[in-house]
């Protein structure tokens, strides 16, 4: 069941911010240990994933395949450290196992593989593919009259993929109001600024033109993230896209808004600084 919806508003926010910092610590620790992996896009999504996994989503870590559960599709699969962190901290598998990220024969592959790890709802890593799967999951929910929500997290660079817009059309054709796409709008992709590599703006107008409801939010303002997710769950007869303005590398001073931290592991010294930065943000 949802972890925290009954708590008082102040406590709820404080708890979720704490979980987000725990996720950030787990992310840099995992990628530092692996000496490989994607910090930037994991950190930019930490607040959103905290809100989903520690509050909003109807999930039960003791029953990872519970039929009526909400689904989470990490379509930007390279950000799996944030997903693995959330799953481990929610008890889907031992927290110790996080240190096996990208290691020989690990279940924590460089991109999420659903058959390997309890709680991973979709195999992803080839950008764009996860989103179409999410549409299929939401469609099945509609066919089954099962009231679960499907959350899909996409990168802004990922929006370059044509299949994203094919899936978006399909979702609106079937009025999949329980499908919620969240775009991690950090304005960076692999080769540079997203706005330079492939300008996608106006993203809101594009989704609106595809007949989606669009909400915009500061992806690091926990209260606003929660409010947007709650708003998105209200029936609208159409799918909802939340455009979350974020900072890639958020929470680690030297990674913030830096292209080179897309897929680079921190050195020992950098790891030390990162831990202090995150600690500092953890009141």
């Amino acid at each position: 069941m949802t972890a925290n919806t009954q708590a008082k508003p102040g406590e709820r926010l404080r708890a979720l911010k704490g979980h987000a910092q725990d996720l950030r610590r787990a992310i840099v620790s995992m990628v530092h240990t692996a000496q490989s992996g994607h910090c930037g896009g994991s950190l930019s999504a930490a607040d959103i994933v905290s809100a989903l996994y520690f509050d909003i989503m109807n999930i039960d870590p003791s029953q990872p395949r519970m039929p009526g559960r909400d689904r989470f599709v990490l379509s930007k699969g390279h950000a799996c450290p944030v997903l693995y962190g959330a799953l481990a901290l929610r008890g889907y598998f031992p927290v110790d196992e996080l240190s096996t990220l990208r290691k020989n024969d690990s279940r924590l592959q460089g991109h999420p593989v659903s058959t390997y790890l309890p709680g991973v709802d979709a195999t992803a890593g080839s950008l764009g593919l996860g989103f179409a799967q999410a549409v299929g999951m939401a469609l099945e929910g509609r066919m089954l009259k099962a009231p679960y929500f499907v959350y899909a997290l996409l990168g802004d660079g990922e929006l370059n993929e044509g299949v994203v817009w094919e899936a978006a059309s399909t979702a609106s054709k079937f009025g999949l109001e329980r499908l919620i796409a969240i775009v991690d709008r950090n304005n960076l992709q692999n080769d540079g600024k997203a706005d330079d590599i492939m300008p996608m703006e106006p993203i809101d107008k594009k989704f609106e033109a595809f007949n989606w409801r669009v909400l915009a939010v500061d992806g690091h303002d926990m209260a606003a993230v929660l409010a947007a997710l709650e708003e998105a769950r209200k029936p609208a007869g159409k799918p909802t896209c939340i455009i979350a303005r974020t900072i890639k590398g958020k929470g680690v001073s030297f990674m913030e808004d830096k292209r080179e931290w897309h897929g680079k592991p921190p050195s020992d010294d950098e790891y030390g600084i990162a831990c202090k930065d995150i600690e500092g943000g953890c009141v």
Binding site: N104, Q109, G110, H111, V113, S126, Q189, N190, M198
Partner: protein, 311 residues
Amino acid sequence: MADREMRAVYAQTLVDLGALDPRICVVEADLARATGTGPFAKAYPERFVNVGVAEANLVGVASGLSATGKKPFAATFACFASRRAYDQFFLSANYAGLNVTLVGTDPGVTAAFNGGTHMPLEDLALMRAVPGLAIVEPSDPVSLEAAVRIAAASDGCTYLRLQRKSAPELYPAGEHFELGKAKLLRQGKDLLIVALGALMVSEAKKAAELLAADGLEATVLDLFSLAPIDRAAIVKYASASGRVVSCENHRVTGGLGSAIAEILAEEGVRAKLRRVGVGADQFGEVGTQDWLADHFKLSAPHIAAAAKSLF
């Protein structure tokens, strides 16, 4: 001989060719920093196109560019070059008779830490099914430079399978390479080992040493181009010993081993074949390249064991 970073050789060769031939252009899909084509972008910004994370579009755009006479080199990870852009490459480039070089980087287990989702073990099988397509997997920096030059000079399409990391030089600078001509690295009477690409050629050479220590003398061929394939060399050395081992950084389905099996059967060569490659029922895994090569039984001891099982 010296090790050189393969992607640096790829980029430098394109820069050199680009100076002489204004038709050479580079098309990337948000992996230019991985492919390492920054120097080309710097030298010829007007001939460098980044289409964003969009591989189907990458190959479609490259096809269109070549329709007006350009010679595009389009690159992405081999998993995406094959699986995500196959129809564009098949139809818009190859069937349309155009002139696109598609570069698939990080083939097979060299995708290492990115894990199973990024481990292309079927790209050669897919590409072999495209009529007339040249498929090249160089084994060292010298053969890579030759491959890029051959692709640039060609009027048709090429699939260039590129290991990005450093590889030792096996050939002297300026060594001549041709499509459909394998290189004889070692000659021995007891069996034939045919290998493709930097990883497998290096493992095959080590395996031949291991076998020699046990008194078995192997002929080793560096195939260089999988299509067209050096039928004559395979028939000649396979007939001589009646024993063949194929070595590919790829699933055994539809790639090098399959191509050799077809030749042996069609030519009526009496030879037994062992296919070293990732198992037909296996997906990729995550780990170091060395661990993966061992796990999937691609490394020299496994090649040697496969060879011995022929006796």
